[in-house]
């Protein structure tokens, strides 16, 4: 009875349940919010979710209070009575970044409690760049992360170096962890940028040491999207646009070209004056054949992304697919990608959750690799851009059709000068690579108790690369000639990589008496890789019309077969301890055992520790109310690098064709030769890194500043070390040497203006890094590096990594302009003889003439030779950075992103060929800059006279240039269509946008683009020869949410 009375009383007090209607909208934008969880505060069983228009109906009583919760918005309570008066519930978006968790290795951490140095990519900004792969838009986004592309070949990857290179001969690219799957050299293009939820970059040792032997180069953690609770959402994002070359080189006009030919080889150049009554002057009116204009094109590109996602409390799902299609700005080149992804997360019960993500990508890139020589011999003249710049712009007297002919009949060229029609050849060359990547990741997580969670993950990544090349008789590599012993030829290559991983972690998380928070992680993981490569070539293929399928009729050529595998077993642990969220401690440890090393050196141990002090939590800070966040971080740790081949520790014998020997004219007989010394003493390369960081937030974090200083000492370098040739080897993998990287990073994020209609926010970052070689192999003073591109220069070192210096400095002689008449004695014969007091340029004094190139005789011995070689440039920038601005005005959003590099030099090797014609090649067109060259009438010119290039094979500072640049990298303007209009069309949101990439670049570099490095390694950056030019891109697109 009492119960009944009581319940009656309650009913009387609160009334009878009735349907309560309302609509939930964004407080600022006014947009409807679908998927908002609505429940009654006192009764957790009654819940509902807003529909796609933000509407909800819930049975509640007059006196109830409703709770509204929605990801990214502050939770809201509202009494039913108030809702009845005003059914529009306004939820306020919170600055999600402040409280959000940040993904770190094997877990996540509250942003405020980070102890290490971790960078997060702003995905909203990044996605505004019209690119195929996220790494192409990463440059300048994060301090300390240097992203460069050697050139802009469609489908080519980027170089990412975090906090400077540690390794001299081995890879410096970071470890990638995609959905918990660590992988050393992933195909970043396999991931659709639209599928990426977050990218975090672990920089200091406290953050990376959990990845132990693979952490030294930094770690990039990528998490892809998964479904969210709410009704199904369909999103489409599509764009189309075009790309164009930002710059073409100015070349000599027909008149200038013929004038130069007449100076160069008067005897041969008479063909230009063979036409009756045709003089040099008449060439001023002859139209130029613009080969560049025929090679480059305005190239169309388009991309389409479609995604469906949604979920309930139990099941979350996301499906997506995309198509990307980009024509290259060079004819017959381009890139295509097709990709699909599925993500499902399922809650089995209160304790168990499982999930699965599957992705399949197939991409295809085609077109000649611009910076690769295209002849079968080492000939610098077969590079695609050489062919275009050098092909003559005009013919002589004969009625030649050089536009269509494969070879220039009038052209009396030297035997090793393979100059053929650049357009015909480019159109006929088949070089294509297709890649398919399947990735599957699954997890099961089991909450053993409230505090203790077991997570088991497994992943599989399978990648198949297929290379197909075919060179028919209309290409530089396939045309019939005595030089071309391979005739029409083709190549097929197949490469398969299977990577698998299993990781098991146990996490214990508990707070003790409010002041002590404690989290411990322990884990065990196994990862393996196997890889097989097979390939073959065929020469002298008789039926070229059959293309690749006709290879079986040709002669067998080089064969390729490779099988390799490795396995790694690891134990890992991490402890986080916080006292009153004020003093934070993190310690990690990892032990890695790898099959790459012999049992005695198999295990590597990598510890780290970090301490952070949240100063803003101290009492004395309360007076400084404008300081919203202040944190001091300190960390030290040791990480490793294991980037060597799987079998480097084994000696190996080989039977190379090139060492076969024929006795008595019989068929060549195999030779067994040693090709590698297996060093049993190999072990991990280790990097000890100390990092001091300071984070400051002012005015409710409207101004945020992050400063980090670090020093990395890498020792026991895994160096493919130069060794005495008396050993029978020139290189042996050893652990020798030491290199140091020091750096400073600043990141400043500000909300400059924030009002209802207009807001402006900026992100600025700048980083400085310098490296210094402390020691090399066994007391070696330097490592000299050569570049293979032109036979006279191939054995001349252009780079030296000297002990005490940087890993990548340019070395050569100092260019001093040209010899002037005053440097010579006039002989009675009228000839000029170099004064004895004037140093030669390396050539015979008797041969040097006024107008010849002049170099500085550094050691004053009267001749310029290798003793006068000094440092002439730096390969690495002093600082790099980026500056991103977001402007919002009503429904318009404008993003403007600048990116720069300062202080590095580029060696512009193109100028050796096209600004002075180092090889004195006949009929080779030159850059227009060489019109200004020394002559008796033009003695002020710094360019040497025709034929005054001095001795070949000497690198000089003449072609070293400042490679600094500031680039307006991305501009993106978007407009959200009005909600009212959308409502009528039953569409949630539509925005249209226009983006431009590489819009403008400020630089003093005279080449096509200053972001270039066609022979990119740690030891040889910044070399420019025939690079694929960087396009300027404009796209127009639409984002639509149903």
């Amino acid at each position: 009875m009492a119960m009944l009375l009581l319940s009656l009383h309650v009913i009387a007090q609160q009334g009878v349940p009735e349907p309560i209607k309302g609509i939930v909208v964004d407080a600022e934008q006014g947009d409807a919010l679908p998927g908002v969880m609505v429940r009654i505060k006192t009764d957790t069983k009654i819940t509902t979710i807003t529909d796609k228009d933000g509407r909800f109906v819930i049975r509640a009583r007059e006196g109830d209070v409703l709770l509204f919760s929605y990801l990214g918005y502050a939770p809201l309570e509202m009494a039913v009575a108030n809702i009845k008066k005003n059914p529009t519930i306004r939820m306020t978006a919170v600055d999600t970044k402040l409280n959000e968790v940040v993904i770190v290795g094997y877990g996540e951490v509250n942003r405020k409690e980070i102890t290490g140095s971790i960078g997060e990519v702003n995905m909203d900004n990044l996605l505004k760049a019209p690119v195929a792969s996220f790494d192409q838009a990463l440059a300048g986004r994060i301090a300390g992360v240097q992203v460069t592309s050697p050139e802009e070949q469609p489908g080519a990857g980027m170089n990412i170096v975090i906090r400077g290179g540690n390794s001299l001969t081995q890879s410096n690219s970071p470890l990638y962890v995609v959905d918990d799957f660590p992988i050393e050299d992933p195909l970043n293009a396999a991931i659709n940028p639209n599928d990426i939820e977050s990218i975090t970059i672990l920089k200091d040792a406290s953050a990376t040491a959990i990845y132990g032997s693979r952490g030294a180069n930094g770690v990039v953690i990528i998490k892809t999207k998964q479904g969210k609770i709410g009704k199904a959402v369909v999103k489409y994002d599509g764009s189309a646009g075009f790309q164009e070359v930002t710059k073409m080189m100015d070349l000599m006009s027909p008149y200038e070209f013929v004038k130069y030919q007449l100076e160069l080889r008067p005897a041969n150049a008479t063909v230009y004056l063979d036409r009756p009554s045709f003089t040099l002057e008449d060439y001023k009116h002859v139209p130029t054949i613009d080969w560049q204009n025929m090679l480059f094109r305005q190239a169309f590109m388009q991309t389409h992304n479609l995604a469906l996602s949604g979920g309930t409390q139990q099941t979350k799902y996301a499906f997506s697919g995309s198509i990307y299609n980009q024509n290259g700005i060079i004819i017959n080149s381009g890139y295509k990608r097709y990709q699909g992804r599925v993500s499902v997360d399922q809650t089995i019960n209160k304790q168990i959750k499982v999930g699965l993500k599957v992705n399949y990508t197939r991409d295809f890139n085609y077109g000649q690799l611009a910076s690769l020589q295209q002849g079968s011999s080492i000939s610098f003249s077969t590079y695609p851009l050489y062919r275009v710049w050098g092909y003559r712009p005009v013919t002589g007297g004969g009625d030649l059709d050089i536009l269509d002919d494969l070879l220039d009949e009038e052209d009396d060229l030297e035997i090793n000068d393979y100059r053929i029609n650049p357009i015909t050849s480019t159109n006929n060359e088949i070089r294509q690579a297709s890649r398919s990547i399947f990735t599957g990741n699954a997890y099961i997580s089991y909450d053993i108790t409230k505090a203790l969670t077991l997570k088991i993950t497994g992943g599989f990544n399978s990648r198949v690369d297929k290379d197909e090349n075919f060179y028919n008789s209309k290409t530089g590599r396939g045309y019939p000639s005595v030089n071309n012993t391979r005739g029409v030829n083709g190549l097929f290559g197949y490469d398969e990589r299977n990577d698998w991983v299993n990781a098991n972690t146990l996490t214990y998380k508990k707070k003790f008496n409010r002041n002590h928070s404690f989290e411990a992680l322990g884990g065990f993981t196994v990862q393996g890789l196997n890889r097989s490569t097979y390939g073959y070539q065929a020469y002298n293929i008789p039926n070229e019309d059959l293309g690749l399928s006709g290879m079986d009729q040709g002669q067998p050529g080089a064969l390729d077969a490779l099988l390799t595998e490795n396995i790694m077993v690891s134990y890992l642990g991490r402890v986080n301890y916080g006292y009153k969220s004020k003093y934070l401690l993190t310690a990690t440890f990892r032990a890695d055992g790898s099959s790459k090393f012999t049992p005695k050196n198999r295990w590597g141990y990598f510890p780290s520790a970090a301490f952070a002090w949240r100063i803003d939590k101290e009492k004395f800070m309360r007076k400084l109310a404008f300081v919203s966040d202040a944190k001091l971080r300190l960390s030290y740790g040791v990480t490793g690098n294991n980037r060597i081949g799987d079998y480097v520790r084994y000696s190996s014998l080989d039977l190379p064709y090139s060492n076969y020997y024929s006795f008595n004219n019989a068929d060549p007989s195999p030779s067994i030769v040693v090709n590698r010394f297996g060093n049993n003493d190999l072990k991990w390369e280790s990097t000890g890194q100390v990092d001091i960081g300071f984070d400051l937030g002012l005015f409710k974090n409207r101004i945020k500043l992050e400063i980090d200083a670090y020093r990395k000492n890498t020792f026991d370098l895994l160096l493919n070390a130069n060794v005495p040739s008396t050993s029978g080897f020139s290189k042996i993998y050893k652990n020798v040497g030491e290199i140091r990287n020091d750096g400073l990073e600043f990141t400043l994020s500000t909300e400059n203006i924030k009002s209802k209609r207009f807001s402006w926010s900026s992100d600025f970052n700048i980083s400085f890094n310098r490296n210094k070689i402390v020691a090399l192999s066994d007391g070696e003073d330097n490592i000299l590096s050569t570049i293979t591109w032109l036979s006279d220069y191939n054995s001349t070192p252009l780079y030296a990594a000297k002990v005490g210096g940087s890993a990548s400095d340019f070395y050569g002689v100092i260019w001093d302009g040209v010899y002037q008449y005053s440097d010579f004695d006039r002989l009675p014969s009228g000839a000029y003889r170099l004064k004895n007091s004037v140093a030669t340029n390396g050539a015979d004094a008797a041969q040097i003439q006024p107008g010849d190139v002049k170099y500085r005789d550094v050691n004053n011995d009267g001749v310029v030779n290798d003793k006068d070689i000094v440092k002439i440039g730096r390969g690495l920038p002093i600082h790099t950075g980026g500056f991103s601005n977001n402007f919002t005005y009503n429904r318009f959003n404008l993003n403007v992103f600048f990116q720069w590099s300062y202080g590095n030099n580029i060696f512009n090797a193109n100028r050796i060929v096209f600004e002075g014609n180092d090889q004195l090649r006949y009929n080779l067109n030159q850059y227009a800059t060489y019109n200004d060259r020394w002559s008796a009438d033009n003695q002020d010119s710094k360019n040497f006279r025709t034929g005054g290039q001095g001795i070949p094979g000497l690198y000089s500072s003449r072609t070293i240039e400042d490679g600094s640049y500031l680039r307006l990298k991305t501009i993106s303007l978007s407009y959200d269509l009005p909600v009212a209009l959308m409502k009528r069309m039953k569409i949630q949101n539509v925005s249209i946008y226009a983006s431009a990439q590489n819009l403008y670049t400020w630089t003093n570099y005279s080449g096509m683009d200053p972001e270039v490095s066609t022979r990119n390694t740690t030891l040889t950056p910044g070399f420019d020869y025939s690079a694929y030019p960087r396009p300027r891109t404009f796209t127009f697109g639409m984002r639509l949410t149903l």
Partner: protein, 510 residues
């Protein structure tokens, strides 16, 4: 984790390691082929030694713009890449030989066959050291494969010249007992007793001369040369020209050509690198006509060499081509005029005779001689000249045989018009010096002959004066001969080696 331990052992299945090789006779033979193929490295006889290292001394000069400021025009430093390549290729071969010798007893096989492989390997390793010691003087003497990558194991100091020579002779002598007679071998491509004896005669002559000056070695040199002569297995090819046409046509005449480097094919197919640059580097320039064959024409004669020949000496216009090729389609052989001496190309290896077609612009199948019978005869004569207790008949007959063949006369029929008679020791030595130049021009022997006679610098300066007084052209030759100085007797130890091996000390003057 015992199961983990097992899974760590990823024994490579992609390649073979030395520890699980050398199980059969065939595998030993493959390893021996590897030792032989050292000779055909581009740093040695395949390319650089052919006209690009200045080994022909006062006989020729290099006229190839890409070789300017390098060892071929005597304007070089310790950083010269061709010197490093030479050093590297030889130590590469030495390492291959060391590995083979260390494993030679592993296979279960016929011991006689094993001994033959061992003999060839020992000899080739000794010859590689011989090529090193004549160019660099003291060199590290490495007789075992390296056991560890530690700097102690890798850095080896130089061994004095004498000791290296001692080891060379010791190994060659051992080899001479193991290898087959040349008629069993059947060609000059493989090491035979004759090849070993002949090269030992050369080694002993070098030791008898500068810088070791161990005159006791003349008797030994004579003895080894005599063994070749009295074996009865050799005779001079009646035609001097035919010797070289044989190389072009891949024909073997072991009676004359006792040891030659084997080159194969014309650079097509998978065996792209098995051809050499013989006839291409040092051939008659310069045409692209495939019916004639391209030659870079790097090697041109000095006026001194040309003048050494009698006008009736058939060797002159074969060794020094009196014509060049003009035009590409077709090439026309066009004679030089009489005053154009220094322009003339080396003509010993003529591509027009090649039978492997098409003639590629790079690789040729022409073999290169290391030891010819005429050389043995001349070595015999020279050594004999230093031995007092005879009347000199034998040495005069030996040199005259070579001369008669050179003039196209029957080898064994005395011919008063060309024969040398009754020369005293000094006169005989001078004529030997000249005859060697006439007979063996462009065969990579001249520089060492001049050095051991201790007349290298004077001969080079003589060549300079001669060419300067003869012609206003040939600036390359004048530059080359001007550049020569006393230090060029030895090459510098490569700069690279000094950088990675702190135990090395540079040669004086460098």
């Amino acid at each position: 984790m015992p199961s983990c331990k097992k899974s760590f052992e990823k024994e490579p299945s992609d390649f073979i390691g030395p520890e699980n090789y050398f199980k059969t006779e065939e595998q030993l033979n493959y390893a021996l082929n590897g030792v032989y193929s050292t000779l055909a490295e581009s740093g040695l006889y395949a390319n650089n030694m052919i006209a690009r290292l200045g080994l022909d001394a006062d006989q020729s000069y290099n006229r190839y713009s890409h070789d300017e400021a390098s060892v071929s025009d005597y304007n070089y430093t310790s950083a010269d890449t061709k010197i490093l390549a030479y050093w590297r290729a030889l130590y590469l071969g030495i390492n291959r030989a060391n590995l083979l010798l260390e494993n030679i007893d592993k296979p279960d096989m016929d011991n006689g066959k094993r001994e033959k492989i061992k003999g060839q390997t020992l000899f080739l390793r000794a010859y590689f050291y011989f090529l090193l010691v004549i160019r660099f003087g003291d060199v590290p003497l490495v007789l075992n494969t390296v056991s560890s990558a530690s700097s102690e194991a890798l850095q080896v100091a130089r061994t004095p010249v004498k000791e290296v020579y001692h080891k060379i002779l010791e190994d060659m002598e051992a080899a001479s007992l193991l290898v087959d007679d040349i008629d069993v071998v059947g060609s000059g491509g493989r090491i035979s007793k004759s090849a070993v004896w002949g090269i030992m005669a050369r080694v002993c002559l070098y030791m008898a001369g500068n810088p070791i000056n161990d005159v006791s070695k003349y008797a030994e040199a004579r003895e080894w040369a005599e063994k070749v002569i009295t074996s009865g297995k050799h005779q001079l090819n009646p035609s001097f020209q035919q010797i070289f046409i044989n190389y072009a046509q891949d024909k073997y005449d072991y009676k004359e050509s006792i040891w030659e480097v084997e080159f194969w094919g014309n650079g097509t197919g998978i065996y792209t690198n098995l051809g050499g640059y013989v006839g291409r580097n040092n051939g008659i320039g310069s045409t692209e006509d495939p019916n004639v064959g391209y030659a870079a024409g790097m090697s041109r004669t000095s006026t001194v060499l040309f003048k050494l020949y009698d006008a009736n000496d058939l060797r002159r216009d074969w060794s020094i081509a009196p014509f060049r090729y003009v035009g590409d389609a077709p090439a026309v052989a066009t004679n030089w005029n009489a005053s154009q001496i220094a322009e003339r190309y080396c003509g010993k290896w003529r591509r027009i005779y090649e039978t492997v077609l098409p003639r590629s612009t790079t690789r040729t199948s022409q073999n290169f001689p290391i030891l010819r019978y005429s050389d043995v005869l001349l070595m015999f004569a020279e050594a004999d000249n230093f031995i007092d207790d005879n009347d000199g008949t034998q040495r005069h007959e030996a040199i005259n045989k070579v001369r008669r063949r050179g003039f196209g006369k029957p080898v064994d029929v005395p011919d008063a018009s060309i024969d040398f008679t009754g020369m005293d020791k000094a006169a005989f030595l001078e004529q030997i010096q000249n005859e060697r130049s006439r007979e063996l021009a462009f065969e990579c022997l001249r520089k060492d002959d001049l050095i051991r006679w201790n007349i290298f610098l004077s001969s080079m300066k003589y060549a300079l004066n001669d060419i300067t007084s003869t012609t206003t052209a040939a600036t390359d030759a004048k530059r080359t001969f001007t550049n020569v100085s006393a230090r060029d007797v030895l090459w510098p130890i490569p700069l690279y080696e000094l950088g990675v091996n702190k135990k090395l000390v540079q040669n004086s003057g460098w």
